[in-house]
């Protein structure tokens, strides 16, 4: 008996389960979708999801039922669902597992969502590198068409549904929901100014819901077992489980489905087996590269949306990157800044230019040429970026900088005073590309 209740990993944890339609149906797959078509109106479904308190698993934690309810009921013309399978936040590799091991689970969630919002077309926007995932999803969709679970007039309800896979081509920003829409429309992935929100003007200017893979995968279980059951797991404001992707200096990296609200310490030391080589912990990123780093004295933080926000970071995609005592924090911040500099879409000046400036300063400090004025300069730059861009990328890229200066200022100062990196004096510093 597992210690933690498994919802999304339940099927795939069984020996020999390959995620085929037959196997998924044998464990009750698609019963929720059939139930919805027979017994519920679209607003019933939205109410159930609202009551469950399901929050978006992609990063922002926005209530899913509420998002669905924003689609105008009286809209004439197409509506769309886009499943966000871009999985581009560094540290995150959970959707890959959900798609590759149990693709029908998310397809059923998508079908139920489409019924609820009145969409007849759904796209899965999957990151371009996931060749295997795209193949598995295409096969699963074909299985569903053959079994008449997707297609025209499903179960005589008059409800039509088409699901397509759309592959990205390598751009972090396309995980941002409006950049994703631009990319699906065949353009550069540049985020749109909001409002209007996608629920009003989304894909092809039609009302659109964008939900993460993990969010949608929860929906069939909420329908079958009820919103009250869902609320028995997790916390009051963050119900349910979350798949935590643990990586970095831990003994057992991996995806773990755990109740929201579980203390960070329990995840790192119990579930993931503790720090590699039994070293001391230096810092943790709790929710993907965009989430500000947390120092060891915050290890007892419950991992739910509000508690992580309360200590100045964010749960984000719940990708936990662990760094041991020998990690150079300036180097880690520089590594992440290289990522952000490379991935800025270039639309907004503060983000595009700011990321380059910050990177230059970090390289200088790490390379032994830091100046005492550099820390103030970094903080100043951050104030010129945060909140001044079209999308949240600007706020994301300053997270690692502000948090490392706040919690590890002395390490920066040591680099500047000693004119070099105390951790890797001779190592290759960066791999710009």
């Amino acid at each position: 008996m597992p210690k933690y209740e498994q919802i999304l990993f339940n099927n795939m944890s069984k020996a020999g389960y390959t995620g085929s339609l037959k196997e998924y149906e044998a464990v009750g797959g698609y019963t929720a979708f059939k139930k919805v078509l027979k017994e519920y109106s679209s607003s019933d479904v939205i109410d159930i999801v609202k009551k469950s308190g399901l929050r978006g698993r992609g990063g922002a934690g926005f209530p899913a039922g509420l998002k669905w309810s924003f689609i105008p009921k009286d809209h004439v013309g197409p509506r769309y669902l886009c499943c966000n399978a871009d999985e581009s936040e560094p540290g995150t590799y959970k959707d890959r597992q959900l798609m590759e091991f149990d693709p029908h689970q998310m397809l059923e969630g998508m079908a139920i969502c489409c019924y609820a919002i009145g969409a007849q077309t759904a796209y899965i926007y999957i990151r371009g590198e996931f060749d295997l995932g795209a193949e598995i999803l295409e096969n699963a969709i074909q299985e569903a068409y053959k079994a008449k679970l997707v297609g025209k007039d499903l179960f005589g309800s008059g409800f039509n549904l088409d699901i397509y896979v759309h592959r990205g081509a390598g751009a972090y920003i396309c995980g941002e929901e409006t950049a994703l829409l631009e990319s699906l429309e065949g353009k550069r992935g540049k985020p749109r100014i909001k409002p209007p929100f996608p629920a009003i003007n989304g894909l092809y200017q039609e009302p659109t819901v964008i939900n993460n893979v993990e969010t949608l995968a929860n929906v069939p279980y909420i329908i079958n077992k009820g919103p009250e059951w869902f609320r028995t797991i997790g916390t009051e404001k963050s119900p349910g489980t979350k798949v935590f992707s643990v990586s970095g200096h831990v003994k057992k990296p991996g995806n773990y489905e755990l109740p929201l609200g579980i203390p960070l310490r329990e995840i790192i030391y119990d579930v993931a087996g503790g720090i590699l080589g039994d070293k001391q912990l230096k810092a943790v990123i709790p929710g993907g590269a965009s989430a500000p780093m947390m120092p060891p004295d915050q290890l007892d933080t419950p991992m739910d949306f509000d508690s992580v926000a309360a200590v100045g970071s964010m749960l984000g995609s719940a990708a936990i990157t662990v760094m041991d005592e020998d990690t150079c924090i300036v180097w880690a911040a520089m590594n992440l800044m290289e990522f952000f500099y490379h991935e800025s879409c270039g639309q907004c000046t503060p983000c595009r230019e700011g990321s380059g400036w910050i990177l230059q300063i970090l390289r200088r400090i790490e390379g032994g040429e830091g100046r005492h004025s550099d820390l103030d300069q970094l903080l100043e730059l951050c104030t010129r970026i945060g909140g001044r861009t079209v999308c949240a990328f600007g706020d994301a890229e300053i997270g690692p900088i502000l948090s490392t200066i706040k919690h590890f200022r002395s390490e920066y100062e040591r680099h500047i005073e000693e004119k070099g990196c105390p951790f890797h004096p001779n190592a290759t510093l960066s791999m710009a590309h």
């Binding site: 590799y93 990151r127 060749d131 353009k187 990296p253 995806n255 773990y256 590594n335 290289e338 990522f339």
Partner: protein
């Protein structure tokens, strides 16, 4: 219509994407991918062909091709080796994997071996952080790398054109054994 470089088969594969979308412009990304699969990279004539096919201007295709990192704007080797360098991989030795590859292949980052077999690139996060360090070669992932494993993979590809060390379905790190 007369096309510069796209073959009839390539065009048919692109046209097979049309029914998925209400707007032809949405086919831009799939079209670039298909053209690259068939030609090895995205050349200017290929982009002009795609523009012609999708009723776009060449710049509309070009600006997309240059935005996304997966499109090769120049020819690359038969095997494109892309090593992830973002934090989780970097913490677990991505740099030594890159150094090892440079030595084994005798090329620098961004270069191609003389025999045209391998190109080496360093890239940002490929969402395989729990099995770091990792690399992608063409369309397959290779994870939990060590220098010895890297050499085995290169040998396999040289000799057989494929390697069993590629990550296949259901080969991700095992789910937790919770007691």
């Amino acid at each position: 219509m007369k096309f510069k470089v796209l073959s009839k088969e390539t065009i048919q594969r692109i046209e097979a994407q049309y029914p998925k979308y209400p707007d032809l412009r949405s086919v831009t990304l799939p079209a670039l991918r298909i053209a690259q699969e068939d030609l090895g990279y995205v050349s200017e004539p290929a982009m002009i062909d795609i523009a012609e096919l999708l009723d776009l201007t060449p710049i509309q295709v070009y600006e997309v091709a240059t935005f996304y990192t997966q499109y090769n704007m120049k020819p690359v080797g038969k095997y494109l080796v892309q090593v992830c360098k973002t934090l989780s991989c970097a913490l677990l030795g991505a740099m030594s994997i890159v150094e090892h590859l440079q030595k084994s292949l005798g090329i620098g980052i961004g270069e191609t071996t003389n025999d045209g077999f391998f190109s080496l690139k360093v890239v940002e996060c490929l969402a395989s952080c729990g099995s770091a360090p990792m690399m992608q070669i063409n369309n397959r992932y290779y994870e939990n790398l060590t220098p010895e494993k890297v050499d085995q993979i290169l040998d396999d590809l040289r000799e057989n054109g494929r390697s069993d060390l590629a990550t296949g379905p259901f080969m991700l790190p095992l789910l937790q054994e919770q007691s």
